[in-house]
């Protein structure tokens, strides 16, 4: 047997049991709140008020979802917010993926003035927390004139420093010879980018797509700060007003239903793309 830690073992053996002993209870604890969202979302009103509260649901119902979408007690029906969120998320994810991979390509494979500076600045910007400069950001957004429009949700969050960073690190792995060969055959940058780079960096693209999806779909700040017109706000924001303004018990079912609608797309997308993400993360190293 090899010495030392056996990373990424092929098959199960008894020495791994100790890890399961820790991991199973720990992940159960991690999982409980999420399960509770599911059960609460499907609880009828009498079970929501039951004492002691049950962790599971006996008569599951879609009542909470119906209330959320049909009964517009809190102004607009939820569907309006949901549509806004879908439009905004789609716009951000596609542009974000495209722009970061374009910039990542030249940053990795081309020489130009200011290249090193750009990469360094972007690396510092990895630590950027948008909320910290919320006020100057508002000033910028309002001087461009996109306050109270859907653009106010979209434009400010397209550039994701982590996205550019990861895709650049990933493109570094693409051999230069491949690009040189294409150039000799007369291919230009646009051809090389779309026909050679893009197919090779699918994992990185999937990763930026997930990151920007999460950053956009879950975003409440753009609604709070830049877009105060009700019919242009996002579902995430609607959800946060729902949970903070309503009575906890009566609103719990509706809140949980909304939380579930927030959570499910995140989960599905991550499950579909998780292999790609792990592949990209292997190249995430910083110097």
């Amino acid at each position: 047997m090899a010495l030392g830690t056996n990373f990424n073992p092929r098959r199960f053996d008894k020495t791994q049991l100790k890890f399961y002993l820790i991991l199973i209870p720990f992940s159960a604890f991690m999982l409980l709140p999420i399960i509770y969202i599911f059960t609460t979302a499907f609880k009828p009103i009498d079970e929501l008020f039951a004492f002691p509260p049950r962790f599971y649901v006996i008569n599951p119902t879609f009542e909470n979802f119906r209330t959320l979408f049909v009964y517009a007690e809190y102004g607009l029906p939820a569907i309006r917010y949901l549509v806004n969120s879908i439009i905004v998320t789609f716009a951000v994810v596609t542009t974000s993926v495209l722009f970061s991979s374009m910039a990542g390509y030249v940053l990795s494979k081309k020489n130009f003035r200011g290249k090193k500076t750009l990469f360094e600045v972007n690396k510092v910007a990895l630590m950027f927390v948008p909320l910290v400069v919320m006020i100057p950001r508002f000033l910028v957004v309002s001087s461009i004139g996109i306050v109270d429009t859907l653009w106010g949700h979209i434009l400010p969050i397209i550039a994701i420093p982590v996205g550019l960073f990861l895709v650049k690190q990933f493109i570094d792995q693409v051999p230069d010879e491949l690009i040189e060969a294409a150039k000799i055959d007369g291919a230009g940058d646009i051809y090389i980018f779309s026909k050679i780079i893009i197919p090779l960096i699918r994992p990185a693209i999937a990763t930026i797509a997930i990151l920007s999806f999460q950053a956009t779909w879950n975003n409440t700040e753009t609604s709070t700060l830049f877009v105060s017109v009700e019919n242009k706000q996002t579902f995430a924001f609607y959800m946060s007003t729902l949970t903070s303004s309503t009575n906890t018990v009566a609103g719990a079912g509706i809140g949980a239903a909304a939380a579930l609608i927030m959570f499910i797309p995140n989960l599905v997308i991550f499950i579909i793309m998780q292999n790609n993400v792990m592949n990209t993360m292997a190249h995430s190293g910083m110097k």
């Binding site: 030249v106 006020i135 910028v140 550039a159 910083m286």
Partner: protein, 316 residues
């Protein structure tokens, strides 16, 4: 009409291909590829930071043109704003020192264990551990509000009452004694994010020969192995994970408000710098002071990241 459309389409595609040709020939594509990202990056990240630094040296109420006031805002914050020095800053430091390193160490330990079990089981566990971070604090606040609810319907209260540990439900989220602890628990729960995945991916790709050589050279225990071999081998991922955990920690400022449903949080017990910025900037219209706070927070974040870099460098 149809003919006209096809003609315009053809003309447009002609123009596009001519532009492409022109750019390719003159080696301008490099800039074409960079411009969209740089434009957005500069507009929404660089300029706000620069403007923020600028405003922090002025007296600005959002309506009149800002007037230069030197470092008065900073002096005000550090000497006169009692709430900041006595509550907000200590809260922020406590919160970030527990959640940042705590979440980071947890991420490493979990990733280290996960990397030593088989692929299928690992995928399931990793998904469970990662999933709370997907929707981050705010969406998840709803479930924590139910769990810690201050009436008998709250899970924790119900549990305590049923077991005769208390008679009257505890106002967990409204009580200064509990709010900070709950904020920390919730943030730790959702702290295994991108950084955790990076560390896990790093561990799965370490070179196993390193270990054999080290044991032959006299390495004795697993603990030694972690510090002398494993961490240095995935140092880059560790650093990336550290930066991600710092950013995650400082972005989580809204959690106290989301949990308690009030800004300021009950007796300011969950008030972090982010909430304080909001307080000055949005509720009190003292934009200069708010900007000075932003600059201080940016410096704290940068400082933490540099610290990590130094710690990890010394491992060489």
């Amino acid at each position: 009409m149809h003919k006209f459309l096809t003609l315009t389409k053809k003309r447009i595609s002609d123009i596009v291909s001519k532009i492409v040709e022109f750019l390719e020939k003159n080696n301008r594509t490099t800039y074409l590829f960079l411009i969209p990202y740089i434009l957005l990056f500069v507009t929404f990240i660089v300029i706000p930071v620069v403007v923020g630094i600028g405003i922090s040296f002025t007296d600005f109420n959002g309506i009149q043109f800002p007037s230069f006031s030197g470092i008065r805002n900073y002096i005000y914050l550090l000497t006169e704003d009692e709430l900041f020095m006595k509550t907000v800053l200590p809260n922020t430091l406590l919160f970030s020192l527990v959640v940042g390193p705590g979440g980071y160490i947890l991420s490493f330990l979990l990733a280290w264990m996960l990397s030593q079990i088989t692929h299928r089981a690992r995928t399931v566990f990793a998904l469970i551990i990662y999933s709370p971070s997907m929707t981050a604090g705010i969406a998840m606040a709803v479930v924590w509000r139910i769990i810690f609810s201050g009436d008998e319907q709250g899970l924790i209260n119900a549990f305590l009452i049923v077991n005769n540990l208390i008679d009257i439900p505890i106002q967990f989220l409204q009580s200064p004694d509990y709010l900070m602890t709950i904020m920390i628990v919730v943030s730790l729960w959702s702290s295994m994010g991108v950084g955790f995945l990076a560390i896990l991916a790093g561990l799965l790709n370490v070179n196993k020969e390193l270990y054999e050589a080290a044991y032959i050279d006299g390495l004795r225990s697993r603990v030694q192995e972690i510090f002398y071999i494993t961490i240095p081998a995935i140092k880059k991922q560790m650093l990336f994970g550290a930066v991600m955990s710092i950013v995650g920690t400082f972005s989580a400022g809204a959690i106290g408000v989301a949990l308690s449903g009030a800004n300021p949080t009950p007796q300011n017990s969950g008030q972090l710098i982010l909430n304080h910025i909001e307080d000055y900037g949005i509720f009190r219209s003292e934009l200069g002071v708010a900007a000075a706070l932003s600059v201080l927070l940016l410096l704290i974040i940068l400082g933490f990241s540099k610290l990590f870099q130094i710690i990890l460098k010394e491992q060489d």
